[in-house]
């Protein structure tokens, strides 16, 4: 699971008011090189919840991202490279996504999050 995906997943447990962002627990992750595409990064930036991305990247030990970011930083090659790495090159293989309100854990196995709810959670 890339952090780009983490940035769009939320808890849909019944009764939860704000299920985003899910807290990331990562026991295993890998880094895979991805072609750098500045245009893509600039176009996706407005859709990214930066605090969620920052938090997730900290969890996997990537501390190079600034705590906050604005569009002017997209001019900087250095910033773009860090954004690229955090968003696309870190793959969480094993771990969990945790609902911020209920603590419900959605497991991540072999890189695939399982977001299915049980009958009583719907």
């Amino acid at each position: 699971m890339r952090l780009l995906t983490h940035n769009m997943l939320s808890s849909n447990v019944k009764g939860v008011v704000n299920g985003f962002p899910l807290r990331l627990e990562a026991s295993t992750w890998v880094e895979k090189e991805v072609d750098f595409n500045a245009d893509f990064l600039r176009s996706v930036f407005p859709k990214i919840d930066w605090p969620a991305l920052f938090g997730a990247s900290q969890t996997v030990g990537y501390v190079a991202l600034p705590e906050s970011a604005d569009a002017s930083m997209l001019e900087s090659e250095d910033f773009l490279k860090k954004f690229h790495h955090a968003l696309l090159e870190i793959h969480v293989e094993e771990g969990a996504l945790v609902c911020p309100e209920t603590g419900r854990r959605f497991p991540i196995n072999k890189g695939i999050p399982n977001m299915l709810l049980n009958e009583d959670e719907v």
Binding site: M1, R2, L4, T5, M8, L9, S10, S11, N12, F20, K32, V34, D35, S43, V44, K47, L88, H91, F106, N109, K110, G111, I112, P113, N114, M115, L116, L117, E119, V122
Partner: protein, 333 residues
């Protein structure tokens, strides 16, 4: 001509209705096999979801081995059968005809950037759309085996930076409102037990102006004087539902009404039944190759039951009961 004769099978195997037998089938010659279990459509939600997940966990590998990465019908010019290679091309054509019908633009500056593939199988459509549009594609499926395989294929094709797969429920998608500019459901709608909720979720995750595409199996529209399908039609559909873990079917008009109730725009629908006619006979023939037979035995009972019911799909199409339907629309700006 009965459907088994049409696909050249009835010298070898007879699948006969036997109402006195629980499950309603007797298989001849040479052996009697009784398909266990009463013919029952209404499974509860959890049982249905588990059944769907198990069916695809069990059968996806076999399907991929015989038919490849796309788990949907091919689109053919009426009247033309063909070889297996032809069928694979037809499956790609199905995607292209669907995009064309939906009016997805050819202008690359306006191509969709974020796609959701609802009921993604092993990710064939997701990878195709990611390659075609350079889009980010999210696929969801109930089957963990399918999600893993979809991801593995994405990695193998160098698309792991563009496509992602999750195990998730189409009726409860884990995505924020308005996130996707193309919402894609290719032959998964027939599994959805609540069509209203299904289309509502597709609408919720669609961005303003996004295109929503549903390609699915429906039953024929009812005439003005009808309250329901005829009893023999219902019996036929129930048998299919039992084997494929389908909830109750609806008609194309039902989908149109739901779309209208959600204020969706530019609602279009078409009956592509004539364009998919060669598909089921071809699938049946592939099951009767040595490879197909062994794969079925390896896959398990759910897959075998699904295979045995294939002639009923042909019967349903021939009786103009089953309609292969496309419904497209747009979320208002």
């Amino acid at each position: 001509m009965d459907p088994l004769m049409r696909c050249g099978l009835s010298p070898f195997i007879g699948l006969y209705e036997a109402p006195h037998v629980p499950g309603g089938y007797v298989m001849l010659p040479g052996m009697r096999a009784q398909l266990a279990g009463a013919v029952q459509v209404v499974r509860d939600r959890e049982e249905l979801k588990k059944g769907i997940a198990d069916l695809y966990d069990e059968s996806s590998k076999m399907w991929e081995g015989l038919w490849g990465e796309h788990m949907h019908h091919g689109f053919y010019d009426p009247g033309l059968p063909g070889s297996v290679a032809h069928h694979r091309r037809a499956q790609l054509r199905m995607i292209e005809e669907t995009l064309s019908f939906a009016g997805v633009t050819e202008d690359s500056s306006k191509w969709p950037k974020r796609v959701v593939d609802v009921g993604c199988g092993i990710g064939g459509s997701s990878r195709y759309l990611a390659k075609k549009y350079g889009a980010q594609c999210q696929g969801i499926t109930l089957s963990p085996v399918q999600a893993q395989r979809a991801q593995a294929l994405a990695v193998a094709e160098g698309l792991a930076d563009k496509v992602s797969f999750q195990v998730a429920d189409a009726l409860d998608q884990p995505f924020p409102d308005g996130h996707f500019d193309l919402v894609w459901s290719m032959e998964s709608g027939e599994h959805m037990p609540d069509k209203n909720k299904f289309v509502s979720e597709l609408t919720r995750v669609a961005a303003p102006g996004a295109t929503i595409i549903i390609v699915t199996w429906c039953h024929r529209d009812l005439s003005q004087s009808e309250d329901s399908l005829k009893p023999d039609e219902i019996t036929l559909l129930n048998k299919i539902c039992n084997a494929y873990y389908l909830p109750e079917w609806c008609s194309p008009s039902d989908y149109v009404k739901i779309a209208e109730s959600l204020s969706l725009k530019d609602i279009k629908t078409a009956d592509w039944s004539d364009n998919v006619a060669p598909f089921w006979p071809a699938v049946i023939q592939s099951a009767f190759t040595w490879k197909g037979f062994i794969s079925l035995l390896r896959s398990g009972w759910k897959s075998i039951k699904g295979a045995l019911v294939m002639p009923l799909m042909i019967e349903g199409y021939n009786k103009k009961l089953i309609k292969f339907t496309i419904i497209t629309c747009r979320k208002p700006e």
